[in-house]
């Protein structure tokens, strides 16, 4: 996703690169900051790790300079370096090259730690952490997401977005372990997920996604409050959130044997987003179970037979990937912050 989004954004404001301490590493960082990602990643691959470590230490020293101008310039270059190494890390991640992934993510993390020492809540620092969590959740790499989230935790108060990501990691792990025969490597505790979502809502009571997720985990824990919270997701919410809320309500009602009401909720979800498939499948299954086989077959034929529907048009797909859908937005913000 990372590279695709970068290419899609195609930074167009190419200006003269910084002349600061010109060396191959800085040149590569500047290439990246100019939007020339492919060229930057290719040249980065040609640099030796011990050389990069040396240039990184030089940047650390420059940032500690008493000259404010030099310090700020170094910090700007470091932000570019963060994004360069993050891009390379997730390039390796997509190719299952865990060693290179960790190497570059560790580099990026080291820069972020330095930047965070100046201002822990700087937008760049916060957004970068959210981006990495989104990408790890998209790759369903929950051990890494869990470890990363622990480092990102701010004892002074986490942002609602980070709390959402923390809760989503727990919820994803629970689902993979329980419903997919998988071992996510993380315990996946719905109580922890609930706690994070509640905290997110305390910080931002208008955070609809946290409210939907809170309702969902409560229903998964068979807590009656879940239906009450899902019921709060009304027409004032965007359609994908309403869709998820109606889908989750139908799931609860079906389990309780209230098939008529479950069918109404699934149908409401279909009305909201007619091409999203999960609600069609849920409705077909419900009908099949109560003996309405030809209706169920028709539900499947109309949904699975639909042409020209994008694979990822279902909010349920994104729901299962935590905060992944937020990744492109975070990346766009970060690239604007480092643009030369």
């Amino acid at each position: 996703m990372f590279r695709a989004v970068v290419i899609g954004l195609a930074l167009c404001h190419v200006t003269t690169a910084s002349s600061q301490d010109a060396n191959p590493y800085i040149e590569v960082i500047d290439l990246y900051r100019q939007g020339l990602e492919e060229a930057a990643l290719k040249r980065l691959a040609g640099l030796r790790s011990d050389e990069i470590a040396g240039w990184r230490d030089a940047l650390f020293a420059a940032m500690a300079s008493k000259s404010r101008a030099e310090s700020e310039r170094a910090a700007a270059t470091m932000r570019g370096a963060v994004m360069l190494h993050t891009a390379r890390a997730f390039w390796a991640f997509e190719r299952n090259n865990n060693g290179e992934f960790r190497f570059h993510l560790t580099f990026a993390q080291a820069y972020v730690d330095k930047l965070a020492a100046l201002d822990r809540r700087a937008p760049f620092v916060r957004t970068w952490r959210l981006l990495v969590l989104a990408l790890l959740q998209e790759g369903r790499s929950l051990v890494a997401a869990d470890q990363f989230a622990r480092r990102a935790h701010d004892p002074g108060g986490d942002s609602p977005e980070l709390l959402l990501a923390l809760g989503a990691t727990e919820e994803m792990a629970w689902w993979i372990r329980r419903e997919e025969d998988g071992d996510p490597g993380v315990r996946g505790d719905l109580k922890d997920a609930e706690r994070h979502y509640r905290q997110a809502l305390i910080v931002d009571p208008t955070f609809t996604e946290a409210r939907v997720r809170l309702g969902r985990v409560l229903t998964l824990r068979e807590d009656a409050e879940g239906m009450k919270i899902l019921g709060q997701i009304d027409q004032s919410a965007d359609a994908p959130y309403q869709y998820l809320a109606r889908l989750f309500e139908g799931d609860v009602l079906e389990k309780h044997g209230d098939n008529a009401q479950a069918e109404r909720q699934y149908s409401a979800a279909i009305t909201l987003l007619p091409t999203a498939q999960a609600a069609h499948v849920a409705l077909a299954h419900l009908r099949h179970a109560r003996g309405a086989r030809s209706e169920a077959a028709q539900d499947i034929r109309s949904s699975a037979g639909a042409r020209d529907v994008p694979d990822t048009s279902d909010p349920w797909f994104w729901y299962g990937r935590g905060t992944a859908w937020r990744g492109p937005g975070y990346l766009e913000q970060l690239l604007i912050m480092i643009r030369l």
Binding site: E180, D181, A276, V281, H288, S302, A306, P310, T312, S313
Partner: protein, 305 residues
């Protein structure tokens, strides 16, 4: 939320014409009775030449009087459900398509075929049809990318079973575990109990290195072939009286498909009108050979709706 909304509604397009409705399937009814698909093996070999009098069938532990239906006389509904997630891209997809085409060549004229693909989304590329050309054209549209909606696809294949006297074989090819379905495993197993479709699955064996220490170094001695179906697919196939076959490489997918079809054609179809049992609810089935040696594989039971 704008971005999520955009992501989810890039193309709000629904297929225009709804496909024609079909009638309800009849797994069983008092009039036509219950039909049970049975496989008999001895070791790796299929046992042929049996007849109804060789079998003992109990419905809820009550012995039933069975007759055998000539398999040759029953047309086949073959529902193919192919995993087209990202991991299938390239050579694997080409092998899969070739295996599917090869299967078509082995069907009889009155057999019908449907093609479903599943990745992030389940797609019905061809409804049940006797037209081989339509299926060939559907194969040509297969493209591999995205996640794996295995459970949703398995349910879709079961739900597509139509009301006709044909036997339905659902053949699932998958090389991975589910990462995107809405339905849970018990939902699909429950649906399987309500149909008479037999589900076979073809998976790819996992190749793992066998390591040892030699001269103070870890060296690879050989490669071990591990055939481990996921719990869901193992449960689903067993519940319907089918089984899981493995291909050790992409090239072996065709052989696994051919073996599946041959095996399905060499099963026995037993028929009986239930007596002495309830007309509703779950019925546990127990099928065995009276005197002859062999392992009997059949569905575990059925729901009488």
């Amino acid at each position: 939320m704008t971005r999520l909304h955009q992501a989810c509604t890039v193309a709000i397009v629904i297929a225009g014409a709804a496909l024609p409705l079909t009638g309800q399937e009849h797994f069983r009814s008092g009039a036509i009775g219950v039909r049970v698909d049975v496989l008999v093996t001895r070791g790796q070999e299929l046992v042929r030449g049996l007849n109804a009098s060789d079998f003992e069938l109990r419905d809820e532990a009550v012995l039933q009087k069975v007759s055998e239906v000539e398999v040759e006389q029953i047309p086949l509904n073959l529902i193919l459900a192919f995993d087209t997630s990202g991991s299938v891209a390239g050579e694997r997809l080409r092998s899969l398509i070739q295996a599917g085409q090869s299967l078509l060549d082995r069907l009889r004229p009155d057999d019908r075929v449907a093609l479903l693909s599943f990745s992030t989304r389940v797609r019905l590329l061809a409804p049940l049809t006797a037209s081989r050309q339509q299926i060939h054209e559907a194969f040509a549209t297969l493209a591999a990318q995205g996640a794996t909606s295995l459970r949703d696809a398995a349910f879709a294949a079961l739900a597509l079973r139509e009301t006709d006297p044909g036997r339905t074989l659902v053949l699932i090819f998958t090389d991975g575990t589910d990462t995107a379905s809405w339905l849970r495993a018990p939902d699909v197993i429950d649906a399987a109990k309500r149909t008479d479709s037999v589900v076979y699955a073809v998976g790819l064996a996992d190749l793992r290195p066998v390591l040892s220490i030699s001269g103070g170094k870890v060296v690879q001695r050989s490669v071990m072939t591990v055939q481990e179906p996921g719990k869901f697919i193992e449960h689903l196939t067993a519940e319907t009286g089918g089984r899981v076959l493995f291909a050790n490489s992409n090239r072996d997918i065709r052989a696994a498909f051919t073996e599946t079809l041959a095996e399905f054609r060499n099963r026995y179809v037993l028929s009986y009108t239930p007596t002495g049992v309830s007309t509703t609810g779950w019925h546990r089935l127990d099928v065995k050979l009276k005197t002859k040696a062999g392992k009997v594989t059949a569905r575990r039971g059925y729901f009488a709706d």
